[in-house]
Amino acid sequence: MTIAPGKHLDRDRDAMAREFYRRLAETGTAATTRCARCGTTRFPPRSRCADCDAPTEWIELPRTGRLQAFTTQERALRYGAPTVLVLVELGDAVLPGVVDGPIEALTIGDEVELAAERVEELGLSLCRFRPAARP
């Protein structure tokens, strides 16, 4: 499909999401927030901790993590099959992203490495992962 959407998402993207994507684009690292008081890390990032109402601080997540789950999308605006949709455990957070297929080559728990990918039609970098070099 040739539809190239992206701008439709801009008006609903909150300040925290904009900061997440700014950091990903500029540093190639995914980040989220941690409560400055209770130390709880959550994704998505939020400006204040819902439990203790303390301000949060941004923390960078590790660039390697493990596959929590993966599948492919039959119908999608982008990243349809054979690209693989993944949830990746990065430190104390789980983030969504994509990894190159084929899906048959992947196993839950596989180590993967973040390689942020610029998507021009969105004006964003997204979380693309690649299998980490095996020891």
């Binding site: 609903d12 119908r75 949830l87 789980v94």
Partner: protein
Amino acid sequence: MNAFGARDRLTRPVVVAFGAPPVGKYPDDTPDDLAERALREALATLELPLGALDGLYLVAAGYARTVAPLRPQRLAERLGVPTRALTEIECGGASALLAFKAACQDVALGHVELAAVVGAQAERELFDGGIDEGDIDRILLVNAGFGPYLAPLGLLAVVPVYALAAQRYLHDHGIEPAAVAELAVRLRERAARNPRAELRDPLTVDDVLGSRVVCPPIHKLEAAPWSDGAAAVIVCSQELAHERGWPGAALTGWGEAHDDANFIPFGRDLTRYPWIGQATEDALARAGRTRDELDVLEIYGAFAPAELMTYEAMDLCEPGGAAAAVARGELENVNLSGGRLSLGHPPQATPLLEVGEIFEQLTGRAGERQLAGPQAGLVQAEHGLMNGAAVAVLEASG
């Protein structure tokens, strides 16, 4: 004890009528056409005109329709019904059950005498014939619903989200694909006895496993069809139902729980859905009932693996044990309608189809599916990736 608190001045809401055209394909109808048909069918069973209603509780007209604001008033105008309560509720797949709650609350408070809850959806053609650029507004709307972290990955359907959870579920518990397919086969057997069901031809496990893999590990026949359909439920006070001699299904327990996450509960166990468990516990506690006392249940289950995880979240069986329980022939009183997989699934109407199934069972109107004298039933609905849930306990009344 009232479903909404122990206050004597509240009255108990009772479902006294149900109407729904067969679930399926209605390419020439709008959601409001189907809503009107369901509503007239429900009122006809009470031999009442539309004008007898004094409360109208609607569900958003679908997911991919771009609908102008103030649809409730346009529908009221079309029907010619002035009311003392008029609203439209939207919270994903749970919407219709939450609209039902709103109606029950108004009836319980005595604000409304005869409330109609109506959900309808007719947008199948958008997904049936592929997607073209003429649909771009609607496509972008569906995509945007996935929020700032999933929408950019191109999502247009909930299937991949459920597939992520299903993959992890099969992996963690070592469940064989055939064991999941068995649920689809059994639901189809039940649907054969339901004239409202969209899919009634017999299925085998081989048929299910031979169907297209939509999003691994979910096969097409393990996914509910994106159906057109509508359902209407009429709610009044127990006093009015007794006075008119209307048998019904009284709301005796309600529970709901919602995670903060949109679609994917990031960082949580993808095989456990404590929100469903919490909603179930609360509903049963408020009804003063135990699971063993439930004679019949309707569970949302939009995908076979999700339905199995829902059984477990509701503590109907042990974690990882649902497929084996189904294979042993247990849980035969769940989704007698055929469930979402075979009854069909117009999400904005689905929870009312579930309420209707329980109403028909509790009032002896379930035809070939009828159980012997059921007294208590349960309805469960969800939104997101099962990380928001609502549960109602209904009991035979009058």
